[in-house]
Structures are given as C-alpha cells and as structure tokens.
Amino acid sequence: MNVVVCVKQIPDPAVPGSLEADHTLDRSGKLILDESDSYGVEMALQLVAAAGGGEVTLVSMAPNNEVSGLRTALAMGADKAILVSDPACEGSDALSTAKVLAKCVERAGGVDLVLAATESSDGYTGTVPAQVGELLGWPSVTFAKHVEIAGSTVKVQRQTEAGYDLVEASLPAVVSVTAGVVEPRYPSFKGIMAAKNKPVDQVTAADLGLDAAQVGWSGARQEITNVEQAPAREAGEKFEDDGTGAEKVVAFLEQLKVV
C-alpha cells in the first residue's frame, strides 16, 4: 500500500499575513507544515501500518527550497518526499498547483492512494485535491471524516450537509480529509533525528515535463484589480458583568423586538 500525501508548507498562521507588491502572498519567511495536512500524514501512516507495509511519500510545492514542513512530516514517520521549489511556479493558482502535484504523484509511481486536506489554511480554495484526481483520471472523495481500505477499494464517510454519506471508490483514488479525522502524533526525538537523513527529491516544473506557461503567473490567467482593507465593523457597548449582564442582554433583545 503506497500512499502519497500532499503537504503544503505555509507561513505561520499566528503571524498576520501580508501581500507582496504583485499581490501574491508573502511567503518569504520560514514556512511550516500546514496543520490541516498533519491529519493526512497521520492517516497515511495508519493506513500503511494497517496494510502491513508500503511507503508514505510526501509531495509539496513551496518556494525557497523550503523543507522545514516536510521535515516535520518525515519526523512523524513518512518515508520520503518530492519537493518542487521552482521560481517558474511562483504565483501558481489552484489549477497550476494541482498540475504540479499530479505530476509528482506520477513521478512517485505505484501509488494506491493520494491524501490531501479538504482545504489549506492559507489559500483555502479547497479545489486542489479534486483537481489532482481529475488530472490523474482517478476518482476522488472529498471531505472524508473516516477512511478505511477494504481490498482494492477505499471506503470513506464523507461529510454532507445533513450528516454523512458512505462512499466507496476503487483504487487508485484521491481522498481529502477533514481536520480532526485522526489525532496526529508528535514526532519523537528518534523520528526527528531520522528525518534529517530521509530523501527529499528536489525537482523543477521542467523535470516534471510541465511547460512554464502552464504554471506560475502565466498559468493563473487572472488579474488582481483591487486590494483594500475591509471596512471594520464598529464595536458597540461593552459592560463588565456586575450581576446585571443578563438584564442588559434582555433589554437589547427587547429593543430589537426579538423577545
């Protein structure tokens, strides 16, 4: 059972984001493993263990040869990684990103399952996993809250508006997992040491057989026409609760005629 996990390396979400002059996200600082992807990594490790063998390969596209997020996932137990860090990919939109990731999956070879998060913490387009599925010509099941392998199929509880659907897809397939689907392990000291020597295959878009026009800004085919601060909502009144807080809420609701 060979599993590929798409892992995005993102600016620390605790630090307020900013835009470059060309309106792309500033990714110049240190990048970390997107927490959303730690669930996919954990899921992959559990599925491979349950299958009794196989490899977990990470694929990531990130600027500046960034590997810190990959090292975190390798320290959790993934076996190896493919990293695309190519200036030609700068400004890539969701579709171009998916093209790069799909090529990485092909490069990994012999893959049974691709895992990703339902959406990234910084971009949250939420389309990359299904785009990768379509590019590979594989079925995809998004919004998984439970995943299990049954022979040559994957069975998924897929979140829906009303509850969940039990969905089955033949392998190879792409599955995107929701936060909280499994409890990601903390890397052990041994894991962290071992991660330093695990292979990271660094490739360019051209190595993957992608034309520069398909990725990066030229591939994105969109133009940012305006960027501005959102009008702030005015804060209203704030009271320290001195025992009359509940009364103030009731008065407020009465004035709005909702009680």
């Binding site: 389309t127 785009q131 079925p139 509850g163 033949s170 959102a230 009731v250 709005l256």
Partner: protein, 319 residues
Amino acid sequence: MRIWVFAEAAGGKVTTATLELLTKAREIGDTVEAIYAGSDAVDAVAASVGSHGATKLFVIDPGDGLPGQVAAAGIAQLAAEHSPDAILFAQTYDGRDAIARLSVKLDRPVLTNGMSLSGDGGLTFGTAIFGGVTLVDAKLTGGGPALIAMRPKSFAAEDAGGGAAEIVKVAAVDAGRAAEAKVLERHVEEQQGPKLEEASIVVSGGRGIGAAENYGPLVEELAKLLKGAWGASRAIVDAGWVPYALQVGQTGKTVKPKVYIALGISGATQHLVGMKNSDNIVAVNKDGEAPIFSVADLGIVGDVHKVVPQLIELLKSKQ
C-alpha cells in the same frame, strides 16, 4: 452574458445558496440557465430555478455516483456546445467537487470563496483574505467560461415570479473513473429547530463553555427559548463536543441572522468571517480583550456560567 448556475437541492427543495446565485446571475446576465445533477424532484427544481430567473434546466443523472464529479463531465460537454460566459457554483461539498473537476476538463482557472460579483466591464469577482480583513477584486483573463464559486449568503435570494424552467435532459455522461466513486448509504443526522443558515437568531458556543455537557443547558437551551438555531466554533467541533454541521466560520457555515449571540468564543478571524455580517452581535466572554468584542454591538465581559443561566431565567419569566 450567458450565465449558468450549478443548482443543488436538499430534501426535494432547491437550496437557498442556489437561489442566491440565480438572483445575482439575472442581475448580471442576459441569459440565465441552470444545471442540476440529480434524479429526484426535477419538476420542483425546474419550478424553483425558473421563478428565480433561469429559463432552462439541464438535468444530469448522477446515478449512485458523487453528483459533483458526474456533473463536471456533463457540464464540460454542455459548455463545449453552448459556450456560457460564466458558470457559478455555491461553495458547498458538491459545488467544490464540480468546479474543481470542470476546471481541469476545460483547462480554466477557478475563483473560489467569492463574496461579491459584478458585471461592469466584464465580470469582477470579490473575495476577502486573511480571515476577512483584506478585500481583493479579481478578473479572469483569457477565453472560455469563468468558473466561480461563491460563499453562501453573499447575496439575497429574490423570487422574480417567472414560470418553470424548460427541462433539458442530458444524455448519459461519461465521467470515466470518477464515476467509480459510489454512494453506498446516506446517513441523515436528525436536526431539531430551525436551520442554522436560515434562523433569525443564532446562539453559538465556544471553548469558553468549558465542557461538552454544558452545551445543552447553556447554548441549546438559550437558542430554543429565542426560537433560534444553535451553532459552534471550530474548537468545540474538533474536540468532538458537537457535530461539524454546527460549525460557523471559514470552514463551516456562513450565517447572517438578525441577532448572533457568541458565548465563550474568542473571535478568531476564521470564526468572524462566518458571522460578522449578522445584523446584531452579542458576545459574552470573560476576557475583556477578546477580539469578539471588536465586532459586538453588545459585549458582556463575564462568565458564561453566571450570565447565561440568569439570562435563561429572565427569558423564562417573561414568557
């Protein structure tokens, strides 16, 4: 402009998010048509999308496949034939599947998480980034249909009073291996009370309520007394205190009630983006510096375990 809307239905009724898209589409476009991937309630869907401005309803039968994946193959065929200028999707489970797969089939980029749309000088799409603090407008360049996903509640849905849309059945579509993903069973979790997205009062609880067992007596109880719906922050959804369906925010539902009451919620940007367009916001939080107070019309700096039971008593005594 010819605009298509990916229509979704639940329980035999067209979703409000679809009707919102149709309302916007008829403001911007000359021709509005809808696509529905489903086999039940087709007549009801045609009537409803028709009264919101669609003249045609293309119907794709997904069988037991995932509707979004099968729809993408069908829409790609239709688009080659009819050349729409834009195809609008709601940012929902199936809407995201459909737009993602279609973007590959048509080799067109997608714009997602949209919050505004206008037709002046081509199609301009607006979204908010960094949890809603920065607004960005974008335009797609190059030919082919613009593929756009909008967050629910970005527009108001208005009935235009038109007749039913003409039903056009699409012959069997070949979705390739994507059709190998099959829905085996559907589990519907019974939901009591009004729908979160439609209620005029929403009471949400966050980590500050302290424990899972406090959700019922504090959050649900207050919501029921106010005839409202109850929601949650992601912190308590991830902790397993309440189901995901109750989550409000960037990765959950967008709500816009007359009154939103936040109990023990800090007000992270990802939560605010799902509720800050509510008409009125009330917050109870013991930390006076909590960011939720920067959007609250009425803020009570206090303990939910004191304030909420008192509030419930007061409301009961008034009934």
